[in-house]
């Protein structure tokens, strides 16, 4: 009984203050401000570190001091507020950056939204650059991100749902979709999957992705994370769902198909044959980055009979004085490459350039001159790496590069048969994979996607022709 009594605000201001401060664990950044309003004492409580002090001054303290109206509700009229009665609500409201207004002899409190929204300006995406097309990207605020989508999708069909997850983190998650396009069963399954993370501490998008994944042990990303609003909009129009996490500058798109990872928003912005060429190039890059090192090893160790004679002697010349098995060579070179890549990502950009030079000159040419790794192997691994970097989505690019390792191993033990076996396993896995219940790899609708379905204007009918 005493417990339930303590839950609600009492009329005793000092008692209330004491309990709230206790609930907030007497944190040092909890500030209180004492004011008087028509002779009654008023206490403002807010977290110094999260609130917009200017807004408190302007919209709360100012009107109260001027005593513009009889009631507090009318005085706060310009500001959005809600009324609270329990300590629990009040303390979580403070934690969200609101200001609590308590009055003497009153058992209700006003919670006024004063969260300072300091956010990054909308900039160009660093990770998904394009030469043609929009140069805006998502920022660390879900509302800004949704506004970026709304700007492109001015339709009432565009629906946003908010959910709060994580018992400690209390992070807002926004699920956006086009009501008319989305598959209701898929949407339902996405929502029920998100329920699973209710009790976890949600911090980053990866956790959302994990909750959405059907096959957590698969090397392939089953939802696409993008920083580009145009990509998100394109997927929304295709009936997919876009999920934002507050404080994360990326959108998680699900369900997604494998081919979407090979697509760049630029594609839809260029002529069909340019589009076709680059899409094919990326498909080739995918095949190369997965199989090329394995293929080279298999040829080197088992199947040199398939080489034309001139190629054979070129190869023989380059591997002549290398003391290692091609498998060891490949692994060494792959590791060197990953090291260089990782080092240049971590370092500030000025130093990263140095790493590039060191990588190219020192390691690239010196390693060949010292006969540790053959010339051809350097070429093979470089081509593999470059083709994996062609893939527009970083997540997929990395998993592709890593997927070549098992094939390298199989090729070193079994030759071509090993590669065939490995590719069989990969293909089976890809075909079996689903993303939010939908097939990950479908028969590609290449021609439908390239051919513009818009009605053609005949030359004579073109109204612009007269101008």
């Amino acid at each position: 009984m005493a417990e339930s009594h303590n839950e609600f605000l009492s009329s005793d201001l000092t008692q209330n203050l004491k309990i709230i401060e206790e609930k907030m664990k007497q944190t040092a950044d909890l500030k209180r401000r004492k004011l008087t309003f028509h002779g009654e004492a008023i206490i403002l409580l807010y977290l110094d570190t999260m609130t917009d002090k200017e807004s408190i001054e302007l919209h709360i303290i100012g009107p109260i001091n001027k005593q513009e109206s009889e009631s507090i509700e009318n005085t706060l009229g310009t500001k959005q507020f809600s009324i609270m009665t329990t300590y629990k609500d009040i303390s979580s409201s403070i934690a969200e950056g609101n200001t609590i207004l308590l009055t003497e002899n009153c058992n209700i409190a006003y919670s006024i939204a004063t969260l300072s929204d300091e956010k990054r300006a909308v900039n160009e995406s660093l990770n998904e650059k394009v030469t043609m097309g929009a140069h805006d990207s998502f920022v660390e605020s879900a509302t800004t991100n949704i506004s970026l989508l709304r700007k492109r999708l001015r339709t009432p069909e565009f629906k946003v749902e908010y959910q709060t997850y994580g018992t400690d983190t209390n992070v807002e998650v926004a699920i956006c979709y086009l009501e008319s396009k989305v598959d209701q069963t898929v949407l339902h399954s996405i929502k029920s999957r998100l329920e699973k993370i209710k009790n976890d501490d949600l911090i980053n998008s990866r956790q959302i992705q994990e909750a959405l994944e059907d096959y957590p042990y698969s090397p392939f990303p089953q939802s696409l994370r993008t920083e580009r609003p145009d990509r998100a909009v394109f997927n929304l129009l295709n009936g997919n769902t876009v999920i934002f996490l507050e404080h994360e500058p990326s959108a998680v798109i699900t369900p997604i198909s494998f081919y979407s990872f090979l697509r760049s928003p630029e594609d839809y912005n260029s002529r069909w044959f340019v589009n076709f060429f680059y899409y094919s190039l990326r498909l080739l890059a995918f095949i190369l980055s997965v199989t090329l090192p394995a293929f080279y090893i298999a040829v080197n160790a088992y199947h040199s009979a398939i080489l034309p004679v001139s190629t054979f002697y070129t190869l023989k010349l380059s591997v002549m004085n290398v003391p290692f098995h091609p498998f060891v060579e490949a692994i060494m070179m792959q590791i060197v490459l990953e090291l260089l890549k990782e080092a240049s990502v971590r370092l500030p950009s000025a130093v990263a350039q140095t790493i590039g030079t060191v990588g190219a000159i020192v390691i690239g040419s010196a390693i060949v001159q010292t006969n540790f790794i053959s010339n051809t192997m350097v070429v093979v691994i470089a081509v593999t790496a470059v083709s994996s970097f062609v893939i527009p989505i970083g997540e997929m690019s990395t998993s592709m590069r890593l997927m070549s390792f098992p094939l390298i191993f199989l090729a070193a033990i079994f030759g071509f048969i090993g590669i065939a076996f490995g590719l069989m396993v990969y293909t089976t896995h890809l075909v079996k994979l689903t993303s939010a219940g939908k097939a990950y790899v479908e028969a590609p609708k290449i021609f439908q996607s390239f051919l513009n379905t818009q009605p053609k204007n005949g030359k004579g009918e073109d109204t612009n022709a007269h101008e």
Binding site: Y302, A305, V309, Y313, V319, M320
Partner: protein
Amino acid sequence: MKTNSRKIIILLFIFPLLTGCWDQKLIVDQEVMNGVSLDLEDNKVKSTIVVLNIIPKGTNFFDFKNQMSSATGYSLEDTYRELRTYYTGPLTASKSRIILLGESFAKKNLNAYLDFFYRVPDPYLGSKVAIVKGVEASELLSTKEIGTNPVAFGLYEIIEAAEDNSTVTKGTLNTLFTYFNEEGKDFILPILEKNEGNILVSGAGLMSHNGYSGQMISLKECSLLLLIMDNYGELVDLETYMNDKKKLNNQVSYRILKAKRELDLKKDASGKPMVDIHLDLKVLLHQYPITEKISSKQIKKLEETISRDLTKKSQSIMKKTQKANSDVLGIGRELKETDPAAWKALDWRETYPTIKINTRVEVAIEKTGILK
């Protein structure tokens, strides 16, 4: 249950590792033979192989050396076993360019000997096969280089050029195999000769019964033979004396633009097969010693001269094939296809030299080059 599956997984990993890489053939270790020559010596086979060793001399520079070795034995495998011991790595024929046959060896039933190259997948079926006349086949391989190419590559290219110039039919070890197993059709092989240190294709050797007949068609007649065989290369150039006098600059030469051959298999009164070959040529005149304008009358005359000359030549070529008992045209196969009963009744090896082969060549000059 869990421990069982774990055991199985461990075994799956261990087995491939324990078996080792028994079939691994690293490029570095491989010794690749480029040329093979086969001779007959005191009723034994003498095989000679040449292995190209590349010697790196710093980046982008290298030198090569031919390592040649021979062995004799009663079979190819016999010699091969000995040859293997001369080299530092596993010996492979996967990059062999050329197989040279000594004249005496070529007269054996090649199918039975070359079988060695067909059974295992290792040897390169694109290698060229040629007969060496005059010297031992192994002697040709002892040349270090032809032009700037190592010997085996040089020989390969010489033969390839001869094929393009319509001296011999296009052929490799692979096509040879199909000929071996085809009744009623013989084939020709290039003949290599050494002339004052230079190696050249001197003609086409007529094969009979899967062996060299000893007869050859000379370089000048080869192109016509190929036209009759309807199996010519990219470039066919022929020439004819303008009149009977064989004097300086008295030849008209022409390039074949279009050739059409008709082979008509008939039966004579006694039921014996006889063949009419009709060759229709469209040519481009590319050498005519008199640089004045050629009138249409002259062209008519030229056409007649050339046609008469080629008809005569083709008759003699066909005589030669009959003498060598080498049915390079595949008349036997034609008969087998069109009249199996007659084919069965005949012993083709006996019949071919005796049948009547009529040839008729008709030439039409289509172009005279830039000059009229």
